[in-house]
Symmetry: C2
Subunit: 209 residues, 2 copies
């Protein structure tokens, strides 16, 4: 038996376009008409390929987090917790104001609150944000074990903190904050992580005695 007519569009390219629509308008604000037009296909092709609107969102999120995961790996490869935070937040300041993309972060813009029938969309986004937080926490646990973070540091709290700042920056970016403003936020934010570093602790202790 034959394997049927092949699809005439590139699913990944179409996903990139869908991602941008969700990114700009959010899940509920994005309409199937906008999505299909951006993807260059008709509704039946969309539904045959992705199931429904929520399936399309999940596929777009998979692609987004996959691309982002490569970058996050570079972030946590930084030698110290302080530099991890700096790379992460400075990188976010740049990425969230990159004119090649809609402002902000898809994991925030996608939908913080949704109406009846889409309640699990915010959960879905939260789960993806939590993955980033877990990756940061693991890195900070290592930093503490290595003596990079001081003994009293709480890796989970630090990871939550960096995550929270990242999300806050995303919201500010989507409401018009420019790159310089976000970098200033990142710069201040990093100082809280620095305050947890063992090197900083030793520096002050050395001055003291």
């Amino acid at each position: 038996m034959g394997m049927g007519r092949p699809r005439e569009f590139d699913a990944e390219m179409a996903l990139d376009q869908a991602m941008e629509v969700f990114w700009r308008h959010g899940y509920e604000g994005a309409t199937i008409a906008q999505l299909t037009e951006a993807m260059g296909i008709n509704p039946p092709s969309l539904y045959a390929c992705f199931g429904n609107k929520e399936g399309l969102l999940k596929a777009a999120l998979d692609r987004y987090t996959k691309l982002r995961g490569v970058w996050m790996d570079e972030v946590v490869a930084a030698p110290t917790a302080r530099e991890v935070a700096e790379r992460m937040l400075m990188g976010i300041a740049d990425k969230q104001t990159d004119p090649a993309n809609p402002p902000g972060c898809l994991l925030v813009q996608g939908g913080i609150a949704c109406g009846t029938g889409s309640e699990n969309v915010p959960f879905e986004l939260a789960a993806r944000r939590a993955q980033n937080e877990d990756q940061l926490r693991d890195r900070f646990v290592r930093a503490k074990a290595e003596g990079d973070l001081k003994e009293s540091a709480d890796p989970a709290a630090l990871a939550r903190y960096v995550s929270a700042v990242a999300v806050g920056m995303g919201v500010m970016a989507s409401s018009g904050a420019d790159r310089e403003a976000l970098r200033q936020v990142a710069d201040v934010a990093v100082q809280a992580v620095e305050a947890q570093s063992a090197a900083e602790e030793r520096r002050v202790a050395g001055l003291r005695g």
Copy 2:
């Protein structure tokens, strides 16, 4: 001429109910049916009183920011920049997890991204968030003038930073973070403000020389 039939509902009580619906479902996710049911009125009463859905949102935001403004006044009344940040972020940790309200912050939950026809809703929310940020900035300008913040401190950047953390905490709260988790974030965040204090600078300088 007569002044017509008096309205049979309390506009402020109705607004409180509408506020909660917007808070929980966002602007686009909230339907007129949900709003009218929560407010205990019928659509014509809503439209006669508030114009349209967006007018109702603005009225709810006015009420929200008015109540919040009282609290913000207490926050900026703290004696030092560090304590301003601490009161603000610790208070937010508590308020955003208060079971009496939906989790998170209306100024974030209301709508970060919206569809065609509601583009100004995110702007409206951003403008209200900016008011808080301005109030913080003014307070930090004063703190710098008073010698509370060190000479190299940037009050605008600090205010943006505290605002960003507050927003990030709001998103985390709405996706299930509990009070203790938010307090940990606030605790770390405050340390960045502390690092900008003149007292901290003097303490380190005193140790050095």
